[in-house]
Amino acid sequence: MNVPTMAEMMAQGKQPEVLFWVGCAGSYDDRAKKITKAFVKILNNAKVEFAVLGTEESCSGDPAKRSGNEFLFQMQAMTNIEILNAYEIKKIVTACPHCYNTLKNEYPELGGKYEVIHHTELLQSLINDGRLKIEGGSFKGQRITFHDPCYLGRANDVYEAPRELLEKMEVELVEMNRCKSNGLCCGAGGAQMFKEAEKGTNEIFIERTDEALSTKSSIIATGCPFCNTMITDGVKNANKENEVQVLDIAEMIVSANKL
């Protein structure tokens, strides 16, 4: 696996076509690291010249901002922006919708102006440009449902890119009742990922996973490491972990195309 850092690129006097913003989940969380690696494999396969910040990357500040800590958010943002600007970054891709939203919408006002895209959008454009060819492999014809991450869907109106990738894999896409702009949150947003939920009658991740399971899909696909964690927990809670997989679309592409 070839994962150049920006520092190495700069030493060679090269500028990548896109910076891969890995994010904290993608860097440290065991489940999310698999998504990160899957995405890198696709980038390598499509011969995309990319780089990561590596140890120079730091939290985008999203969970701090959504917790109400604007100070911490802006300190994170400005530190990151200084580094990104020093490397003259123009285009950023990330597999985390929270980083995506923050970098895309909240950094520009603080001096960080980049073209920011979600990994499903990059994959879609690689296919459109003929740089990446994918097949459905074992997923062909399988019943699969897609869970819209709030920060990709409602927050930024990206609904089609992930669905087009699933279509390319010729899966049988079964939509949940609450999908696209009506999608139900997995329960992790707004920094909920890092705390216990308030007292209630049910957990949000169970409510959502039950809906996904009711589609009788063998795979619940998503495009967010936090949604992935929540729904994986939901599947375990329903004792369905042997029948139903929760996968990122990048992982599906890697597995179907044996990358």
Binding site: Q74, R154, E196
Partner: protein, 431 residues
């Protein structure tokens, strides 16, 4: 002597409109208690939004049944109100059906009004049944007791009565019925009055006319006390709504200045702070900390509950209800307004929006998923209020839940919400 009705009508008109204008001024004053926010950009897009969302009801039809019924009532309200022009002139000058000279056009118009009035009547009955018989859950959440519940029913009763009076007025107008045009609905009501003498028919017609007029004025003034204000405020509310992507939260400018100063190696840490360099407060604990757009949102909310019915926290039984956030904001703003009415200015009486109305438990239950914002048919943004209040809790009171404090400490220390060294960020590459 025959001038008495005209004078009475003029008096009614002056008093009815007068009190209404006075109350509207109060609402504008209260909204202006909010902090400044610039929403003067993109006029084209704003007009388009208003035309589409408020005038065109585009977001209503995402729920087809209630959406279409609402469009009927809304269209009926606007179109039948053309009749009010005639009522005003007739009332002031003692004429009777002054526009009758327009002949077929007149009867066509009145006929359309009758059909609309009938459709409105039926729609309102269905609305009532949805609330009271079918009991659609969003009308029975816990914030929908006492006044909010009665308010909604009052409005439906008002509309039933006003529409009935309009039809009865036409049905008992013998001369109008004799034209036998423009009476597609009332002709079926006329037989009910077939045994009445000419005098009593005339009396009923006059009574219906007067009660209808008085009803309109009462309804007009009822708006101020009611959730029904949306019929006016939906327009400015959609015009001034947020145009940025829903995921984008505003960056607090006051914080930006401080952070820049902190990160600037050349800054003099001992320099005297500039006048108003540090705002008195970060985030919101009371309505006066919110922006005027957020306060207008609160007055615009018609408590339909579409937001609450899609809120993941509310669906799973948490305290949070986005509709209640708006209702509580309005209640508190009304209270502040009353203090100003009494004392001339706002002196804090020891209460505030936070804790006395909205609890931290509600605020911390939000996942910031934007479902409520998406669902609102008039582009109200409950999430922005929740976020501003979280900011107060965290930046002014350090009152975040303990686990969030741990998360934030981790970000501060090692640039990630978990306790991993920043030096290990690229370890996944070789695992």
């Amino acid at each position: 002597m025959h001038l008495i009705p005209n004078l009475l009508f003029a008096l009614l008109l002056i008093v009815g409109v007068g009190i209404f204008v006075k109350n509207i001024k109060k609402i504008i004053r209260n909204i202006k208690l909010g902090k400044a926010i610039d929403r003067s950009d993109n006029a084209d897009k704003r007009w388009k939004n208003m035309l589409l969302v408020a005038f065109g009801q585009s977001k209503m039809v995402s729920r087809p049944l209630s959406g279409i019924l609402h469009i009927i009532v809304y269209a009926g309200f606007i179109i039948i109100n053309i009749e009010v022009i005639e009522i005003l002139i007739d009332g002031l000058f003692g004429t009777h059906r002054i526009f009758k000279f327009a002949g077929p056009l007149y009867t066509f118009l009145i006929g359309s009004f009758e059909i609309l009035a009938f459709m409105v009547f039926v729609s309102v009955i269905i609305f009532w049944m949805r609330r009271m018989v079918i009991r659609v859950p969003r009308f029975w959440n816990k914030e929908m007791t006492s006044w909010p519940k009665n308010d909604a029913l009052n409005i439906l009763y008002f509309e039933m009565v006003l529409m009935s009076l309009f039809i009865i007025m036409n049905a008992t107008d013998t001369a109008f019925q004799q034209l036998n045009a423009g009476n597609p609905i009332s002709q079926f009501v006329t037989p009910l009055f077939s045994n009445f003498s000419v005098d009593s028919l005339h009396f009923i017609e006059r009574a219906a006319w007067w009660i209808h007029v008085i009803g309109i004025f009462i309804f007009l003034n009822y708006l101020y006390y009611s959730k029904h204000l949306h019929i006016l405020l939906a327009f400015p509310n959609t015009f001034y709504a947020n145009l940025n992507p829903k995921g984008q939260l505003d960056n607090l400018e006051s914080v930006t200045n401080e952070v820049k100063l902190m990160m600037d190696p050349n800054a003099n840490p001992y320099a005297a702070p500039l006048e108003d360099a540090v705002p008195s407060k970060f985030g919101a604990s009371d309505v006066t900390d919110l922006t005027w757009v957020q306060l207008m949102n609160a007055y615009t909310c018609t408590e339909c509950g579409r937001c609450t019915s899609v809120c993941p926290a509310n669906i799973t039984g948490k305290e949070l209800s986005p509709r209640a956030i708006m209702m509580k904001t309005r209640d508190r703003l009304e209270e502040v307004g009353k203090i100003i009415d009494q004392k001339g200015s706002f002196e804090n009486e020891g209460k505030q929006l936070l804790n006395d109305y909205i609890t931290p438990e509600e605020l911390w239950a939000c996942t910031s998923c934007n479902a409520c914002v998406e669902a609102c048919p008039v582009n109200i943004n409950p999430l922005s209020i929740i976020m501003d209040m979280r900011r107060f809790l965290v930046m002014e009171q350090s009152a975040a839940p303990q686990e969030l404090n741990v998360m934030m400490t981790n970000i501060e220390n090692n640039g990630a919400p978990w306790q991993y060294s920043q030096m290990d960020r690229l370890n996944w590459k070789d695992e």
